[in-house]
Amino acid sequence: MMASSYSAKDEDGHITVSGPGGGTLRNKKPENTAFKQQRLPAWQPILTAGTVLPAFFIIGLIFIPIGIGLYVTSNNIKEFEIDYTGDDTSSPCYNCAKNFSWNNTKSCTCTIPFQLDQPYESNVFMYYGLSNFYQNHRRYVKSRDDSQLNGNIDSLKKPSKECEPYASIDNKPIAPCGAIANSMFNDTLKLFYNDPNGTSVPIPLTSTGIAWWTDKHVKFRNPVGTNSNLTAVFQGTVKPVNWHRPVYELDTDPENNGFINEDFIVWMRTAALPTFRKLYRIIQKKNNMAPTLPRGNYTLVVDYNYPVRSFEGRKRMILSTISWMGGKNPFLGIAYITVGSVCFFLGVVLLVIHHKYGNRNNSANISN
């Protein structure tokens, strides 16, 4: 095997690697230092039932309340999810999904009514969720050019090879290049509140503050040309194949346009698992009196541009409030309660053992 021959030293036997000493230490009394005599002062903990017992109880006592707290917090988070993939004939988006073609110049719109049983008090976060979408596929993850996205002019004109086959069309560089950018989620989701009096009130959606601050301000930069006009800077590049608009027309707000468009940045942060959600919009709480989203009927209007049927994917729209621990996820609470309980239970078992077998083992620490 490999190890045996690995350390077979110098097969030709010219030198036998000798250990230390080798004659140089002759006639020299070894120094009597704590280090050399292996007597450095040391703390020598001995874990016994006696010493570990309190630790188990303490852990149990800390974890169980935290767990309960987490669980309650998670349960208090309000979340509403609606699947608008449209592969079911009854689904409002069925036609859009069925008739989807990349050549459609006009986007297909479908409206999905839904009802919120509870009012959403605080800020509401609107996510889109995709399933069976492998954003973490290796070919996909690496298909980007961070240097281009950072505003490097050279990379803009000559995208990295990693972007292939989304690097250029007819020798014109794609900006932004790569599979990730190319497949950017481009459904437009709009929310309308159906007032009990019959009118449909559009709900204002904030599209900033959804990406990491560092991404938006450092990692992603628009290329700075001689011209401050974004259109001019991107001159000579072409839009990604599957995009409807070029990158400099993503938004009207210059602070949210081009590479620093937050929808774009959010998309570029590849998800960990094939089922994921990404922050889409934030519904800000207007005033302290009224809930952000009162109880009642709503309509979700979707510009259906994003096909998922070909790979059996699903699309969802999620409305969620957020707590200090993030979105709704009962896992942490359950984990803490479980671990805490186990620790507590073990503490009891150890206590029994400790009592049964006496204090014989309780030799505690030999410290120096």
């Binding site: 490999m2 190890a3 045996s4 021959s5 350390s7 030293k9 110098d10 036997g13 010219h14 030198i15 036998t16 690697v17 000798s18 250990g19 230390p20 000493g21 080798g22 006639n27 009394k29 070894p30 050399k36 005599q37 292996q38 007597r39 002062p41 703390w43 039932a49 570990v52 935290i66 976060f125 492998y134 973490n136 596929h137 290796r138 298909s143 050019d145 990693e162 599979a179 497949s183 990491w212 560092t214 599957n242 959010v266 942060r269 698992l273 094939p274 994921f276 922050l279 070909s310 957020i322 200090w324 993030g326 979105g327 996820n329 942490l332 984990a335 671990v339 150890l350 030999i366 120096n368």
Partner: protein, 1097 residues
């Protein structure tokens, strides 16, 4: 005139037949007139080349050598795969560590080679004086050619192997020391070639000699041959002709590395590696298969958002499968880490310093501490099952004291002098104090024999290669006969009447272990030719007149049972004719080209017959300090001690009793020449019966191993002659394999004594035990040249820096000044080293398993696309920076039980016996632990990521955050796991463990805090900082670390204390340790231990 000498020389060196195995040398390159044609023969020049590389070939040659090692080659392949094939991780991840390893090794080897170049140059450029055509020419040593006549001055080293032609001393002798060759510092006398003319310049001669051969120790060459490396002493200058030069000198031929010994730990590592390689390959296979299964579903292989490049589309499916397989291999190859080899090597190298630093191993007498010749076997010291020890110089001090003698059956005891009633006797010389039982003439003959029959030199005291001889000469001095020295073949003795007696030394028949005797032939002033012989009783008795034997034998046997070394002294008158015959026989044999040894032996045996026995001497060889305690501790540690000695049975037995290897209740089973002799039976039959009887007693009737406490102790004694019968008879007797029987008996005895052993037999025994069932780890300890064979044969060879030269030390793996140090070396250092390295190995496999398992599991969630879970920086740094230092510190400083405790409780050694910590059980435990941790890390975070919105501003985490969270948990868990295992927290452990964790956090911040211009993707940009801003991430990290460590804590707590006895001791001594300050308590503890053991037994 010169032609005359040529013929003489031809006769003396050559003989008529010019065999292939000999070389002809023309002294001074002058063609011999008698010779037909002068063809300058081709010999190699005198350049010593020990270096391997030159400046030009260093890089290619060194790289080639390094990549010949399969592990390096494996990593190179992985690296190349990464470069060529499109793999998930960058080539840097495996290239950097490999580059590091290769560079460090290359630098180390380059430096060593540079040192060799320097040493070579020093030797090769050394100025020597060559006599050429009557002129003295200074030459560089490397330019010496065979046949050159060289002049060497006092204290110079011989530049090549020379035949001594001329010495500045009148008697044609010179003295050399061979300290640099074999470590023996005594002066050896060499003689000029007889009858060469005084005028070397015009000498015309040829020499025929043997082709170069490495045989250095058989005897240091014929007495005319001066070896390269030896130093001229006490002689102004000599002239000699170069016969062997350069790489053909005996020194160069002997300059070969010893065969490498491998430790059991390495075998375990290899076995584990095989398992991990299987895991690696099966992981890659599973992933490749799943990938193609997954891709076969419609829409999965190439969804619209993730199209392949043209090149990828065109590649052949099977080639794709193959490259995918390779990619997976690369992705998971971290499971077999390069760094483990580096760490293991480092641990061994650095760890061995503690042995040479240990002041307990320092012996003030010889001013030396322990010496570590190899660091590869540290852990083997903790695994020893059999100790083979030499007796003389190892168990005993080899510090001889003349106790008494016996002349003609009358006992003379020097020590009685002090207790003698009449006080004047003390001053009057000891001989008078004893009742004059033997005749005065016999006494004086005996004392003259003691004064003459030896090879002692006088130089500020006596110098001899054997301490027995000094003791005897000193003994004779007490009785009034003082040896004054040897001057130009004349031995001077100061006798009782203060007269100087002169004897011409004619021949010395050197001692050798086969004959077990030595003789001198001297001629007294009166013209009498006498042969004095001294030797072991068994070798003398058959060669003297039988009627003299009986009265001496009694004394010899009594002395032997007292534990003294006995020698018998005999003499013989040689008539002139007899002497002439002997003289010519010896000369002829000495100059023989072939079978010199055998021929000499034959002459010796022929001369040393029909002698007259005068008496016997008894010399005490005292036991080494704490020999008994050491042996007892070793036996307590479950180590079987075998004494292998060349000494006679009675002496050896008494030493064994004194060392408490045999105790009063030990039943001795004897298998010696004596017990084999029984009337009316062939010795073979008797051997057969005895073997069966002993076998029945020890093996079949022995109670089952579990209840061994109360069973009878057996001691086994065997002698060399019987042993060879046992070993050689197996072929005839296919029914009962004697060897097996013998081995089984031996293994069931607590201690075994093998006496009358030849050096080779010692090695044979070691080999036999080494290769027996279960291949136990053997250790040989000895101090003399006769122990070298067994030291080299055993798994671990220990040399004692004794008085019999340094050959044992040179060939050993570890050298210690005294036997008593063996206890600490095995029970203290050995135990700790084993625990350390075993833990190191297990931990390394474990930490890489739980490192790679999440990566493997991630493949199920990313379409088996080889997407790495961790960033490349983490992949690279994990083994190099984040987790390497704590385990290295652990493996250097851990003392799970303090050294004092280990020394006090020898039984603790048994717990780690039989490679206890590296067997499949513990390996399975660690592997399961690794799997458990891997699963916890991955799925814990997986559950968390069911909703990736983990920040309080609703923002979501991506795949790199996922990997970073898993990695953070991983680094903390494996480090804390090690912290849990650490029983000995020095400040270094604290520093390194907490330092590594701090470094990880710092590095992550740093790595994620900058847009690195050389990176194509800023994957980790602010990922770590964002992770820390999420409360959920903190909470999941904490709970998963705790969950991972929970079983470990439970295991530690619930594990049964290691034997009730050990535990109690632990408590007791800890209580004792608290009472008294440590520094003063230590020597006290040692002392009480030895006292205790005295009283207990």
């Amino acid at each position: 005139l010169s032609s005359l000498f040529t013929t003489t020389d031809r006769c003396s060196f050559g003989g008529e037949d010019r065999r292939v195995g000999s070389r002809t040398i023309y002294v001074g390159h002058r063609p011999c007139p008698a010779n037909e044609v002068f063809i300058p023969p081709k010999f190699c020049d005198n350049r010593i080349v020990s270096s391997k590389y030159t400046v030009w070939n260093f890089l290619p040659k060194n790289l080639f050598e390094q990549f010949r090692r399969i592990a390096n080659f494996y990593f190179l392949i992985i690296f190349l795969v990464q470069v060529i094939v499109d793999t998930p991780t960058s080539p840097v991840t495996s290239g950097l560590p490999l580059f590091f390893v290769i560079t460090v090794t290359a630098i180390k080897q380059g430096y060593e080679d540079w040192l060799r170049h320097k040493a070579d140059n020093e030797v090769n450029k050394y100025r020597v004086t060559v006599l050429e055509d009557g002129r003295r020419i200074q030459k560089e040593s490397e330019k010496i050619k065979v046949g050159d006549v060289l002049e060497v001055e006092e204290d110079e080293t011989f530049p090549c192997d020379l035949i001594l032609l001329q010495s500045s001393r009148d008697d044609g002798t010179c003295f050399v020391t061979t300290a640099s060759l074999d470590g023996e510092s005594n002066h050896k006398t060499h003689y000029t070639v007889p009858d060469t003319e005084r005028d070397v310049e015009s000498l015309n001669a040829t020499i025929e000699c043997e082709q170069p051969q490495p045989d250095l120790y058989k005897s240091l060459g014929p007495e005319n041959l001066l070896l390269k490396g030896a130093t001229l002493k006490n002689t102004q200058s000599i002239c000699g002709v170069a016969v062997y030069t350069g790489m053909e000198t005996k020194m160069a031929l002997n300059y070969q590395g010893k065969s490498q010994k491998r430790s059991v730990v390495e075998k375990s590592i290899n076995a584990f590696l095989l398992v991990y390689l299987c895991i690696l390959v099966s992981k890659a296979l599973v992933c490749t298969t799943l990938k193609y299964v997954w891709q076969s579903k419609p829409g999965q292989d190439e969804p619209w958002y993730n199209e392949k490049t043209l090149k990828e589309k065109e590649t052949n499916l099977y080639l794709n499968m193959f490259t995918d397989f390779l990619s997976f291999m690369v992705l998971f190859n971290f499971i077999i880490p390069v760094s483990m080899y580096v760490t293991v090597e480092m641990q061994k190298f650095l760890g061995s310093f503690f042995i040479s630093w240990d002041k307990d191993f320092f012996d003030s007498e010889i001013e030396e501490g322990a010496l570590v010749n190899t660091s590869d076997l540290n852990e083997e010291l903790g695994q020893v099952e059999y100790v083979f020890t030499d007796k003389t110089g190892t168990l005993t001090q080899n510090n001889m004291e003349f106790i008494e003698c016996c002349i003609d059956g009358h006992q003379y005891k020097y020590r009685d002098a002090s207790s003698e009633v009449d006080g004047f006797c003390v001053t009057d010389g000891p001989m008078n104090t004893v009742q004059q039982k033997a005749g005065r003439e016999r006494e004086e003959l005996f004392l003259r024999a003691l004064c003459l029959c030896h090879t002692v030199q006088v130089k500020e005291g006596f110098i001899a290669s054997s301490p027995d001889e000094i003791a005897l000469v000193q003994g004779a001095m007490r009785y009034g006969f003082t040896f004054l020295g040897l001057e130009s073949k004349t031995m001077k003795i100061l006798n009782r009447t203060n007269d100087v007696e002169m004897y011409e030394l004619l021949h010395v028949l050197n001692f050798d272990p086969v004959r077990r005797r030595m003789s001198v032939i001297v001629r007294s002033i009166s013209g009498e030719t006498l042969l004095f012989c001294k030797g072991a009783d068994s070798s003398i008795f058959p060669r003297v007149k039988q009627e003299e034997v009986e009265k001496i034998r009694m004394h010899v046997e009594r002395n032997a049972t007292d534990g003294y070394r006995t020698l018998c002294v005999a003499y013989k008158h040689l008539t002139a004719e007899e002497y002439d015959q002997v003289d010519s026989g010896l000369r002829e044999a000495r100059l023989a080209l072939q079978d010199r040894e055998e021929k000499l032996m034959a002459v010796y045996n022929q001369v040393e017959t029909g002698m007259n026995l005068i008496g016997a001497t008894a010399v005490e060889d005292r036991l080494q300090e704490e020999a008994a305690e050491t042996m007892e501790a070793l036996q307590g540690a479950g180590i079987k001690v075998w004494v292998l000695t060349g000494d006679k049975m009675e002496t050896a037995k008494s030493t064994c009793y004194a060392c408490r290897l045999f105790k009063r209740n030990t039943e001795l089973l004897e298998l010696t020449v004596r017990t084999l002799e029984s009337p009316g039976k062939r010795r073979e039959d008797r051997l057969h019966d005895l073997l069966l009887e002993y076998h029945k007693k020890t093996v079949q009737d022995a109670p089952p191993a579990k209840t061994c406490v109360a069973s009878q102790d057996y001691g086994f004694i065997v002698d060399g002659a019987t042993l060879s019968m046992v070993l050689n008879s197996s072929s005839e007797n296919n029914l009962h394999d004697y060897k097996d029987l013998f081995l089984q008996i031996c293994q069931n005895c607590t201690s075994v004594l093998c006496c009358r052993m030849a050096p080779l037999q010692k090695a044979q025994i070691v080999k036999m035990v080494k290769n027996s069932k279960g291949s136990p780890i053997t250790l040989s300890i000895g101090d003399g040249a006769n122990d070298v064979s067994m030291i080299l044969e055993a798994h671990v060879g220990i040399g004692i820096k004794g008085k019999e030269g340094r050959q044992a030390v040179r060939n050993s793996d570890y050298a210690i000044p005294k036997l008593k140090h063996l206890k600490k070396l095995l029970l203290g250092h050995g135990h700790l080293y084993y625990v350390r390295i075993a833990h190191l190995v297990q931990y390394f496999f474990y930490k890489n398993l739980c490192f790679i398992l999440p990566q493997f599991l991630y493949q199920f969630f990313c379409g088996c696309s080889q997407q790495p879970l961790y960033d490349a920086a983490y992949l690279t740094m994990y083994n190099i920076c984040f987790t390497s230092m704590p385990i290295l510190a652990y493996s250097l400083f851990e003392q799970h039980i303090s050294i004092e405790m280990l020394l006090e409780n020898a039984t603790l050694y048994r717990q780690i016996g039989k490679n206890a910590m590296l067997r499949w059980g513990p390996f399975l435990y660690w592997t399961l632990l690794g799997v458990f941790h891997g699963l916890v890390f991955f799925f814990g975070v997986w559950f968390l990521f069911s909703n990736p919105a983990l920040q309080d501003n609703g923002q979501a985490f991506g795949n790199w955050s996922y990997g970073t969270i898993v990695f953070t948990i991983l680094v903390f868990t494996v480090t804390l796991k090690l912290a849990l295992d650490t029983r000995h927290w020095t400040w270094i452990n604290h520093f390194v463990i907490w330092g590594s964790l701090a470094f990880y956090v710092f590095f992550s911040f740093f790595w994620g805090g900058v847009i690195w211009p050389f990176l194509r993707q800023q994957r980790l940009y602010f990922v770590f900082a964002n992770m820390l801003s999420s409360v959920s991430a903190w909470l999941v990290i904490i709970v998963l670390i705790l969950l991972s460590l929970l079983p470990e804590i439970l295991y530690v707590v619930l594990r049964k204390p290691r034997g009730p006895y050990a535990r109690q001791k632990l408590v007791q001594s800890s209580a004792g340790g608290i009472q008294s300050p440590r520094s003063s308590a230590r020597p006290l503890l040692m002392r009480t231990f030895s006292d205790e053991s005295n009283t207990v037994s």
